[in-house]
């Protein structure tokens, strides 16, 4: 193997011809986004790992249906997202743990004072609570778009819908998020009083 990293198209072509080592490189390249894509659906690390792994395996066996020259990532994420939905549906899986904020992250540069930083943190907590309270479909759309920064085309693939539908689903999800935020009043006020 040369020192230049091969691009996706080359790796996929090799993998299509049975080169497992080439496919392994693709797995290395996309395992993190695959895992996170699965995780926002399963919210369970083990289930997400299983979904990502079986997504990679299924994608490999389906490579003969993959159109050469088209982007590999959206195609892969579609399979992984589908596996994640299956995992989440499976009765044997314990899902439903919530997405959580990272602890001990450095303060935002954008927050000029400790008070504003605390307020920003409070905002994040409230927003996350609202995201966690959404139904799986709405949460998925929001997470794909804003947390994982998937493109519209990738979202369409991962959500298994048309590109045109992505926008309307996203707008519906954001609308539900607003409703949830509006319903979160008492708890927020309490927290705020406590912080003040």
């Amino acid at each position: 193997m040369g020192s230049r990293p091969l691009d996706d198209v080359e790796l996929v072509e090799r993998a299509k011809h049975g080169d497992v080592a080439a496919y392994e490189q693709l797995v290395c390249r996309y395992q993190e986004i695959a895992f996170r894509t699965a995780y926002v659906t399963t919210r369970d690390a083990e289930a997400a790992k299983d979904a990502a792994q079986s997504g990679f395996i299924k994608a490999y066996y389906a490579l003969n249906r993959f159109r050469s020259g088209t982007p590999f990532r959206p195609w892969l994420l579609k399979i992984v997202a589908n596996e994640a939905r299956n995992q989440a549906r499976s009765a044997s899986r314990r899902t439903g743990r919530e997405l959580q904020l990272a602890e001990g992250r450095p303060r935002d540069d954008a927050a000029p004072s400790p008070e504003e930083a605390a307020l920003a943190a409070l905002n994040r907590e409230a927003l996350l609570r609202a995201v966690n309270a959404l139904d799986a479909n709405a949460r998925q759309v929001i997470a794909y778009r804003y947390f994982l920064d998937l493109s519209e085309a990738e979202m369409a693939d991962a959500l298994d819908c048309r590109r045109g539908t992505v926008k309307s689903r996203l707008s519906r999800a954001v609308g539900r998020l607003r409703e949830t935020l509006a319903g979160d009043t008492s708890e927020l006020v309490d927290e705020r009083v406590h912080h003040e």
Binding site: Y23, Q31, E46, D50, S92, A102
Partner: protein, 268 residues
């Protein structure tokens, strides 16, 4: 605060969501590439199988080892022959010759979380089978597996008359049950014998000899390697979509007798 949200424009809310995404904590992504590769090498796409076999020189020796064992078992009897042949066919021959597992066996059994019998049944999606052999009693400890063996139940019986103590723990018998699509194979170090057995109509295999691993396919197609804990003999069989294994320093007759007595019920 909620009023503040109400006043947020879509653009502001979007910015807040992007900001939230940057502050989320994800579990660290697991390393998948080796497991995926191992799986794909064992199960090449149609048309690539022969090539894969030729490329993977490493597979030749294990295959020879498997064939040698197969040949020795085929010499046993016609019944053994047909049982072994079909079992290997079913399993797709994933026997690998290998060295013994590293580290002291049983030093830490790593079976997961200890649970009550009732909780164990709640935490797995299949009926836990327990031996009903008179004199064996109930399991002394029950564990539910850690990742990646989330659905794995382990029943431990303390050493007692007829169940000699394993060299590294006080356990005399370990029964493991896990939902898995296939029971694939095992490492076969020199000195291990493989004999087909039948447990109430299910095909199984008796492995006598030195320590080894077992390989499973999880329901999700993940290849899992599990260590034999008690460094003894092993009886393993598939019952429906569950792989069961029984290990200890016991004879084949004893193991088969215990296995045949296993029935669904509470693990009490």
């Amino acid at each position: 605060m909620s009023e503040a949200w109400m006043g947020f424009s879509d653009a502001e809310l979007e910015r807040a969501l992007v900001d939230l995404g940057q502050h989320l904590s994800y579990p660290s992504a697991p390393e998948l590439s080796r497991t995926v590769r191992a799986h794909l090498e064992q199960h090449p796409r149609r048309g690539h199988r022969l090539r894969a076999l030729l490329i993977r020189r490493a597979v030749i020796f294990p295959t020879l080892a498997a064939l040698a064992i197969l040949a020795s078992v085929l010499a046993l009897s016609p019944d053994a022959r047909s049982a072994v042949a079909s079992w290997f066919h079913f399993a797709g021959i994933a026997i690998k010759s290998g060295s013994s597992p590293p580290g002291p066996l049983g030093h830490n059994l790593n079976l997961g979380r200890r649970v009550s019998p009732g909780e164990a049944q709640k935490r797995v999606p299949f009926h836990i089978l327990t031996p009903t052999l008179p004199g064996l009693g109930t399991p002394d400890e029950i564990y539910v597996g850690p990742p990646p063996f989330r659905g794995r139940v382990s029943l431990i019986y303390r050493a007692r008359r007829g169940l000699p103590r394993a060299s590294t723990t006080g356990a005399g018998l370990l029964i493991t049950e896990m939902q898995s699509r296939f029971f694939v194979g095992k490492t076969v170090p020199p000195g291990t014998t493989v004999v087909p057995v039948e447990i109430n109509g299910d095909q199984g295999v008796w492995l006598a000899g030195r320590p080894h691993f077992l390989y499973y396919f999880s329901e999700q197609g993940t290849l899992l390697r599990d260590t034999i804990r008690l460094a003894g003999n092993v009886l393993a069989w598939d019952h429906g979509n569950v792989t069961l294994r029984l290990e200890g320093h016991i004879s084949e007759e004893q193991a088969v007798e215990i296995a045949r007595s296993m029935e669904a019920g509470t693990a009490h």
